[in-house]
Subunit: 507 residues, 2 copies
């Protein structure tokens, strides 16, 4: 590395050290906003977050910083890997934001923050029309923001707005890719779902709605966190209506859950899902934070891990065997007449339902396909915001044979659109990724034995070494190829579902 | 107002609008730190708060801001009242900090933030020696910070370090004042305590330690918040080991409580106490925030209100009458054989005890006197940090006839010293204030009727109009004189205790 490169690197690091503080503060303020901030204070706190976020953004508009970042990008061959990754990330960020002033960025954030508050109000009132004006603004912001970007490769044909939004959450993925992947899912899963629903196999689920107090569910949550080895010295845990994970700093990764009196499994599997996210952040290489590349991982990578823990591990026979005694001890009334096999089957029952986060592993993909098709149409202009409730209900009828009775359990159920479009497909792509790496993992680890015996250190260690270690440094297609030697495909996921559910339903 | 004054006012307002954002963020981050931040992330989050707080401080070091503030102070006769109050506050702040660089201020904050983390660790280990090095640093910071101040009145003799610290929390009060006030307390309360403890009157307290689940206590907490008319749209409520109130913004005032399985009354009275603080912030004039003078009120004013609600209202016969049916409904097992009179008496029993926050109204003042005498000796240099545990235990023996068995229930019980000395006396002075204004209130409102009927809007309205409205604008001695026509005295408080407890103990 030349003297000049070293100096430029130092300039960049100094600015990012400060910018990281603003981001850290915004994460905590946002966690507070979503967990405890009083309703009438949310708008002001949203504005505060927008302000601080913009102060961080301004730091990155400093010409000396931009010059240093671009210099590093041009000389990235001289840099060690982590810094070269940073240089690429900064270059991309620079192109995306060079035409956006801090004032413009602030106005974007304000729209998103307000939309979040309006969404809460609209959902409470179960009235999409209260949210529609905000959602229209969000869409306008998404479009404007994309229109202001400089292309990474000026010689390539311009990508559509929706493709660029998809790229924000999963670099490199396109509508074309998703149409093919989801096409394969529909082709194989729709007929299989019919067979499953027509199967004479009876799965007992009566006990899933037996009443459990919040206190017992909280004990269960802590039991599961302990089983999975989530470190409460470095993480926090609380309740919110919508479970989520947020990462503030290397020693601060927080998860939330909710308790429904008559649906104890809902909290259990939200805990396992969020713990997956948390483990990814906690067990990534420490130096990634120090090199400012800890958010290099994509959201589909993230969802691959959370859904790996939730479904591939959490709903497996081995895991149910591991926790069965704990469940019986913590919920004795619920479990008074339930065998281990009955618990396993109930946790895997296929049942079309309205709420994505409560959906079973099999029908889940359709919840994503519905959202994907709607947002693709919205962003392209084929559909308008006002069409959302109608489209939503039609598609639920079409794919799942059921229809929401109101907006709260329909198109207002998810928070995501209040901050823009393009996120939902990452859940489904995550399922495809984890099915692919599961097929490697099962050859390298005696997974059933590890899970059934509760040796989560071995499992988490394998994930850290093989899945987390390079996630911040590689593009998604490089990452999955490095792990599996193959390109993204839906096949592993579909094979897995087919085998598992044919076995379970004896079809 | 001249054109120039208007311009200067605008300059000041612009800077303070931004500084207020940093303060708001720091309040939220601090609330997070005290409620949910994971242990291993606390130090980093403390550093983040110090950083942002210092960014706010830097804004106030801008020469244009200082010039404008000083100009306004010199021309405060031209300003409307709120702005004149602001000019006085800015002038005082300027004198206090003009010799303190942002770097120095940052080093001060870092010491305090680290001390907070060390205190938590030391308290957990019940070992004062783990906290002593930090406490020594805190004392050094207190001394250095005071030594750097410019006097408000250069012709007056220099105040002692401890007097200057007292002045931070209760403007104008001195060691001389407190020696006299506490002397009066000791003179009247010590002999009375002997009589009370020797009295043959039997007060039943067995049911106070009957076990109550967290869930039932949470229901009770929400019941009390509702009775007192704490607005959950503008306030939040959660649990922490050490109950406190924090105010972030006009629509964001948060309180916390704790639940002890075998001491339900502890949570009840911490809720009432913190709700007092919260009502003060919620019901102060809205324009005080807009004029940046909302923190003009002193801590003794604040404690006067919290302890007014806790003791003068909360432990009165009328209040016990109001809540007795609710307590019976929420804690049926506890209350199965307890009459309203028995509940009232138990909530007022006099019993020397180790923990300040759990102390009865009568012995409470001695907890404060003990802390006052120790911190006065520490700051003056008469005692050293290493003497604290010994002094603490001796004084508990001397005043209350009991001695802690360990540091956790002794000198490590309170968080306050981790951020400096001089706060504790405000609790006792607060009791004296509220006894004084109670004597006016009882002539203007049929308090027993209002409380027993649950018409808290009338009570809170009286407080807002008479106690809160001018609190940010007046010095404490002006404030209490305006409310009561008299100077601060311990007499009303001592008369009240004497009457109440002679009656209760039939002596």
């Amino acid at each position: 590395m030349t003297q000049k490169t070293a100096e430029m690197l130092q300039t960049v690091q100094q600015t990012l050290t400060t910018a990281q503080k603003y981001e850290h503060a915004c994460h905590v303020l946002n966690f507070d906003l979503e967990t405890i901030c009083p309703p009438k204070a949310m708008e002001q706190q949203g504005d505060l977050i927008a302000y601080l976020s913009n102060e961080g953004f301004k730091l990155k508009k400093d010409p000396a910083f931009i010059e240093a970042g671009e210099y590093l990008y041009a000389h990235r061959d001289e840099l060690e890997e982590a810094d070269a990754v940073l240089a690429r990330q900064l270059h991309r960020e620079y192109l995306h934001t060079k035409n956006i002033t801090p004032e413009k960025m602030h106005s974007f954030s304000t729209v998103m923050n307000r939309a979040y508050v309006r969404w809460i109000e609209a959902k409470q009132a179960s009235d999409f029309s209260l949210f529609a004006p905000s959602l229209r603004e969000v869409l306008a912001v998404n479009r404007e923001e994309v229109s202001l970007r400089e292309p990474e490769d000026p010689s390539a044909p311009a990508a559509s707005v929706y493709d660029q939004l998809l790229d924000d959450y999963e670099r490199g993925i396109t509508t074309e890719d998703l149409d093919a992947l989801f096409g394969a899912c529909k082709e194989r899963l729709l007929p299989l779902m019919k067979q499953i629903l027509a199967s004479p196999k009876k799965i007992r689920t009566d006990f899933l709605s037996r009443k459990v107090t919040d206190e017992a569910q909280e004990r269960m949550a802590r039991y599961l966190l302990d089983v999975l080895q989530y470190d409460l010295q470095r993480g926090a845990f609380t309740t919110t209506e919508h479970p989520f994970t947020d990462w503030m700093a290397p020693n601060d990764v927080r998860i939330t859950t909710h308790y429904h009196e008559d649906a104890f499994a809902s909290s259990m599997y939200s805990i396992i899902h969020e713990t997956g996210h948390a483990l990814f952040e906690m067990l990534q290489p420490k130096e990634d934070w120090e090199h400012f590349i800890d958010s290099g991982k994509t959201m589909a990578m993230h969802e691959s891990v959370s859904r790996f823990y939730e479904n591939r591990i959490g709903r497996s026979e081995a895991f149910v065997h591991r926790i069965y005694p704990g469940v019986c001890e913590i919920f004795p009334e619920v479990m008074r007449d339930v065998s281990e096999r009955e618990l396993y089957e109930a946790l895997n029952v296929v049942q079309p339902s309205l709420i994505r986060t409560e959906a079973d592993e099999f029908t889940y993909t359709f919840h994503i396909i519905i959202r994907y098709e709607i947002e693709k149409a919205l962003v392209s202009g084929e559909a308008s915001i006002d069409d959302v409730p109608r489209l939503w209900n039609e598609k639920y009828r079409e794919y799942l044979g059921i229809e929401p009775e109101n907006d709260r359990t329909g198109c207002l159920q998810d928070v995501h659109w209040s901050s823009g479009f393009g996120y939902f497909p990452t859940y489904a792509v995550g399922n495809m990724y984890n099915a692919m790496y599961y097929n490697r993992l099962k050859n390298e680890l005696d997974l059933d034995q590890v899970v059934a015996s509760g040796d989560f250190a071995a499992l988490n260690g394998w994930m850290a070494e093989n899945i987390f270690r390079r996630a911040n440094r590689l593009a998604p297609h490089e990452w999955i190829r490095e792990i599996t030697g193959r390109e993204l495909t839906a096949d592993d996921f579909l094979d897995y579902l087919e085998t598992k559910y044919r076995d379970l339903y004896e079809i």
